[in-house]
C-alpha cells in the first residue's frame, strides 16, 4: 500500500477516548473500542491511539501484540470463531474446522478471497454444554456436526 489515507475515528470513539484520556490504565479499554469500530488494530490506528493518549507507539504495539483478542489484520465480513476449548476439542471441534476448510478453502487465521469470511480458533466461549460450538459474527451455533456446517455458512453467504 503506497498512499496512506488519514484514518478517521468516529465522533463517539473520539468522545470515548477523551473520557478515558486521564484515567490510568486506559490503553486496553481504548484499544477494545477502536477494534470494535474498525474491526482490527491497524498500524495507523495504533499510531493514532499513541498520539491521542500520549503513550509511546512501542508500548501500544507491545500491548496489541501481547493480547490474542486484538487482531492485526482485517477480518472478513463475517468472522467465524470455532471453539477449540477442552470440551469442544474432545467432541470434535477440529472436525468443524476441517469442514469449514473444505467448504470455504480457508484455514485458521485466513480470510476468503472475497473478504466475506475469516476463520479463527478460540478457547471456550462458555457454552460447553453445547460442544462443539462456533460463533459467526457473534451468533452461537452449538452441537455442530460436519454435515451441519455448509447449511449454517450458507445463511451468511
Amino acid at each position: 500500500m503506497s498512499e496512506r489515507e488519514e484514518l478517521k475515528f468516529s465522533d463517539s470513539l473520539m468522545a470515548f477516548i477523551n473520557e478515558w484520556k486521564e484515567k490510568p490504565g486506559n490503553l486496553i479499554m481504548v484499544l477494545h473500542k477502536v477494534q470494535g469500530e474498525v474491526g482490527y488494530i491497524s498500524r495507523e490506528a495504533a499510531e493514532k491511539v499513541s498520539q491521542l493518549l500520549d503513550i509511546p507507539l512501542a508500548k501500544v504495539w507491545g500491548v496489541v501484540t501481547f493480547y490474542h483478542f486484538f487482531k492485526l489484520t482485517k477480518p472478513g465480513e463475517h468472522n467465524i470463531a470455532v471453539c477449540l476449548g477442552t470440551a469442544c476439542y474432545l467432541k470434535g471441534g477440529d472436525k468443524v474446522v476441517e469442514a469449514i476448510n473444505k467448504e470455504l478453502g480457508i484455514d485458521v487465521g485466513q480470510v476468503t478471497e472475497d473478504g466475506k469470511f475469516s476463520l479463527e480458533a478460540v478457547r471456550c466461549v462458555g457454552c460447553c454444554g453445547l460442544a462443539p460450538v462456533m460463533t459467526i459474527s457473534g451468533e452461537v451455533f452449538g452441537k455442530l456436526t460436519k454435515e451441519a456446517v455448509p447449511g449454517i455458512l450458507a445463511k451468511f453467504a
Binding site: 479499554m29 483478542f69 486484538f70 470440551a87 474432545l90 478457547r123 471456550c124 462458555g126 460447553c128
Partner: protein, 595 residues
C-alpha cells in the same frame, strides 16, 4: 399485583444460542393474544445449569420443567398450561414420570445439588434489581454497613472458613485482613472474572444470572478493608455477562446501593469494568493487575502480595467471581451456617462445569465432600452413548486426571491434591474410551505453551521442549527415554518458573503418565494409539469378508485412495490415505475398522 403463573425462560448464553429470546418474545405475544397477559409474569433468567437440555422454560407455581423448547411451542404452553392448567407432557423433561408430575425435585440432575453461589440463577431476572432484593439481596450489605465493624465482617469469613474458588484455595479472610491492616489512603477491590480455563463457564453463568451478588460482595469488602474503588476484570469474550453487569451497576447506583454515600451510611464505593483481551495468563493475579494498569499482562514476583502492594502499589484484595458470590450469603446468614456445609477439609459448595463425554452436561453446584462418582453418575447421568468411563480432568491445564479407582474420593481441596489433581476453578471434563490420554496431555500443554507470557525461561523453553517430545510420541517416533526426559523437564519447570502457569503446566502430562503409562508405552513401543485418535498411528482397514463392493467409500474418499471393482472387496492405499475417516462413516456394512 399478584400473578397466577410465573414463566421463567432461560436467558443464559447456551439457551440464547438456541433461540430462547424468540421463545420469550413468542410467549409474551401469545399471552397477549390469548388474553392472559395480566395473569402471567414472563421473566428471562440466567442459566439453569442444565444447558444440555436447553432451551429451558420453567413454570411456577407448578414447578413444571420444560426442556428443548422451541419458539413454536409458545402457543401450546400458554393455551394448555396457563389457560387449561394442563402440563404440556411432550416437553417435560422426564416423560415417563410425566404421568405423575415433573417437578424440579424429581430431576436427578438437581437432586444432589445444593445452591449457594447459583442461588438466584434461573430464579430471578438478572436485569431487575428488585428481584434480587426480594430474595434477600443487599440485606448483607445493609448489615455490614450499619451493624458490623470491619473486624466483625472478617471474623464471619474466618468462622465460615471460606477459601478462594479461583484455584489456589487461599483463605479469604486472611487476604482481607492483610489489606485491612496496611495503612494506606487508597486501597482497591478486584473481581477476577477472566475465567481462562478452556472448558469452564461457572463464572460466566454466575455473572449472567446474578450480577448483583458480586457487586454487593465487593462493596462489603470495600467496607471491611477501607477501599472505595473496585474493578471487575472480565473477559471480552463474555458480552452478555458484561452487559448484565453494566445494567446491574446502573440500577444499584440508582437505588443508592453503589456510589456515593451508600444507603446514607456515608460510605462511598464505586466499581468499574475493565476488559481482558484473551490472554490466559492474565487470570494469574499479578498479571491481571498489570493488565488493569494497561500493560502487557506479565506476572511479577510475589511477595509483595497484592493484598499488601497491588494496583498502583496500593493494597488490593483480589477474589474470584465464585468466591465473591458466596460472601453476601455468609454475611447474611452468618459464618457458622456456612461452616456446617461441606466436609472437614473444605466448607461450603463448589460449582463445576461438567462437560465432555457425559450425558447431562451442565453447571452443577454441590456441597464440598460430594464424591466424583455422585457427580458423574447421579447428577451427570453417566457416560454418553454407553461408552466406558476413562477419566475426569479437574483443574484444567494446571490439573490432572482422576481415574475410576479414585471415583469415590470426596471432592475438597485437600483430597484432590492427595490424588494428584487439584480443585482448580471448576472445570470438570469427562473422558471416555475414545479419548487418547497422550493426546489430551498434548492438548493442554499446547494450550499452556501458547499462553506462556515468555517472561521466564523454564516455562518458555521447557514447555516447548516437552510439547516437542509429546508430538514425537504421537507421531510414533518416541523412545522410552523420552519419558524420563519429560519428567526431568517437568521437575525443573515446577521448581524454577516464576508463576503458577509455568509451575503447573507439566501437571497434565505428569498425571496422565502416572495413571496411563500403558498408553504412552503403546504409542512408543507398539506404535499404536489404543484410542484410535493419533492419526499417524492408525490405519483404516477394509475387512474383505464384510465388504460388499458397493463402491460408496471409494467415491467419497477425498484423495481417491480406495480401489476395487464393483461387488469385489475394496482396499485402501495406506501410503496415500490422509486418515480423514470419511470412509468409515460412509460404509453401511461396518466393513472398515481402525487399527
Amino acid at each position: 399485583m399478584a400473578f397466577r403463573n410465573y414463566i421463567l425462560v432461560c436467558g443464559g448464553t447456551a439457551c440464547e444460542s438456541s433461540r430462547s429470546q424468540q421463545i420469550f418474545d413468542n410467549l409474551k405475544l401469545e399471552a397477549e393474544k390469548q388474553g392472559v397477559a395480566d395473569e402471567v409474569q414472563i421473566v428471562q433468567t440466567g442459566c439453569f445449569g442444565f444447558c444440555e437440555q436447553g432451551p429451558i422454560v420453567k413454570i411456577l407455581p407448578e414447578d413444571s420443567f420444560y426442556v428443548k423448547v422451541a419458539p413454536e411451542d409458545a402457543h401450546e404452553l400458554i393455551a394448555e398450561h396457563i389457560i387449561k392448567g394442563r402440563e404440556v407432557k411432550r416437553l417435560l423433561y422426564d416423560k415417563e414420570k410425566a404421568a405423575k408430575h415433573a417437578q424440579v425435585e424429581d430431576i436427578k440432575f438437581y437432586q444432589k445439588q445444593f445452591r449457594i453461589v447459583l442461588r438466584n440463577c434461573g430464579f430471578i431476572d438478572p436485569e431487575n434489581i428488585n428481584e434480587y432484593i426480594a430474595r434477600d439481596g443487599y440485606a448483607a450489605l445493609e448489615k455490614a454497613l450499619f451493624e458490623m465493624t470491619p473486624e466483625d465482617i472478617i471474623e464471619q469469613l474466618k468462622i465460615a472458613g471460606l477459601r478462594g474458588r479461583g484455584g489456589a484455595g487461599f483463605p479469604t479472610w486472611m487476604k482481607w485482613n492483610f489489606s485491612k491492616n496496611v495503612e494506606s489512603d487508597i486501597k482497591y477491590v478486584v473481581c477476577n472474572a477472566d475465567e481462562g480455563d478452556p472448558g469452564a463457564y461457572m463464572d460466566r453463568s454466575t455473572l449472567e444470572g446474578d450480577p448483583h451478588s458480586v457487586l454487593e460482595a465487593m462493596t462489603i469488602c470495600g467496607k471491611a478493608i477501607g477501599a472505595h474503588q473496585g474493578f471487575i476484570y472480565i473477559r471480552a469474550e463474555y458480552p452478555l455477562a458484561i452487559h448484565r453487569l453494566e445494567v446491574a451497576m446502573a440500577q444499584s447506583k440508582e437505588l443508592g446501593l453503589l456510589g456515593k454515600d451508600i444507603l446514607g451510611s456515608g460510605f462511598d464505593f464505586d466499581i468499574e469494568i475493565r476488559l481482558g483481551a484473551g490472554a490466559f495468563v492474565c487470570g494469574e493475579e499479578t498479571a491481571l493487575l498489570q493488565s488493569i494498569m494497561g500493560h502487557r499482562g506479565m506476572p511479577v514476583p510475589r511477595p509483595p502480595f497484592p493484598a499488601v502492594k497491588g494496583l498502583w502499589e496500593k493494597p488490593t484484595v483480589i477474589n474470584n467471581v465464585e468466591t465473591w458470590a458466596n460472601i453476601p450469603v455468609i454475611i447474611h446468614k452468618g459464618g457458622e451456617w456456612f461452616s456446617k456445609i461441606g466436609d472437614e477439609d473444605s466448607h461450603g459448595t463448589k460449582v463445576f462445569a461438567l462437560t465432555g463425554k457425559i450425558c447431562n452436561s451442565g453447571l452443577v453446584e454441590v456441597p464440598m465432600g460430594t464424591t466424583l462418582r455422585e457427580i458423574v453418575y447421579d447428577i451427570g447421568g453417566g457416560i454418553a452413548h454407553g461408552k466406558k468411563f476413562k477419566a475426569v480432568q479437574t483443574g484444567g491445564p494446571s490439573g490432572g486426571v482422576i481415574t475410576s479407582e479414585n471415583l469415590d474420593t470426596p471432592i475438597d481441596f485437600g483430597s484432590l491434591v492427595k490424588i494428584g489433581s487439584m480443585m482448580g476453578s471448576g472445570g470438570m471434563i469427562v473422558m471416555d474410551e475414545d479419548d487418547c490420554m497422550v493426546d489430551v496431555a498434548k492438548f493442554y500443554l499446547n494450550f499452556t505453551v501458547d499462553e506462556s507470557c515468555g517472561k521466564c525461561m523454564p516455562c518458555r523453553i521447557g514447555g516447548k521442549t516437552m510439547l516437542g517430545i509429546l508430538e514425537k510420541i504421537t507421531d510414533g517416533k518416541g523412545t522410552m527415554k523420552d519419558l524420563d526426559t519429560l519428567t526431568e523437564i517437568a521437575n525443573t519447570m515446577r521448581k524454577a518458573s516464576l508463576c503458577a502457569l509455568g509451575q503447573t503446566s507439566p501437571n497434565p502430562v505428569m498425571s496422565t503418565m502416572k495413571f496411563f503409562r500403558d498408553e504412552y508405552i503403546a504409542h512408543i513401543v507398539d506404535k499404536k494409539c489404543p484410542a484410535g485418535k493419533c492419526k499417524k498411528l492408525i490405519s483404516y482397514v477394509i475387512d474383505p469378508a464384510k465388504c460388499k463392493g458397493c463402491t460408496a467409500c471409494a467415491r467419497k474418499c477425498p484423495v481417491s485412495c480406495i480401489s476395487g471393482s464393483l461387488k469385489q472387496p475394496h482396499t485402501i492405499d495406506q501410503t496415500k490415505c490422509i486418515k480423514c475417516g470419511t470412509c468409515i462413516q460412509t460404509c453401511k456394512f461396518g466393513a472398515i475398522s481402525i487399527q
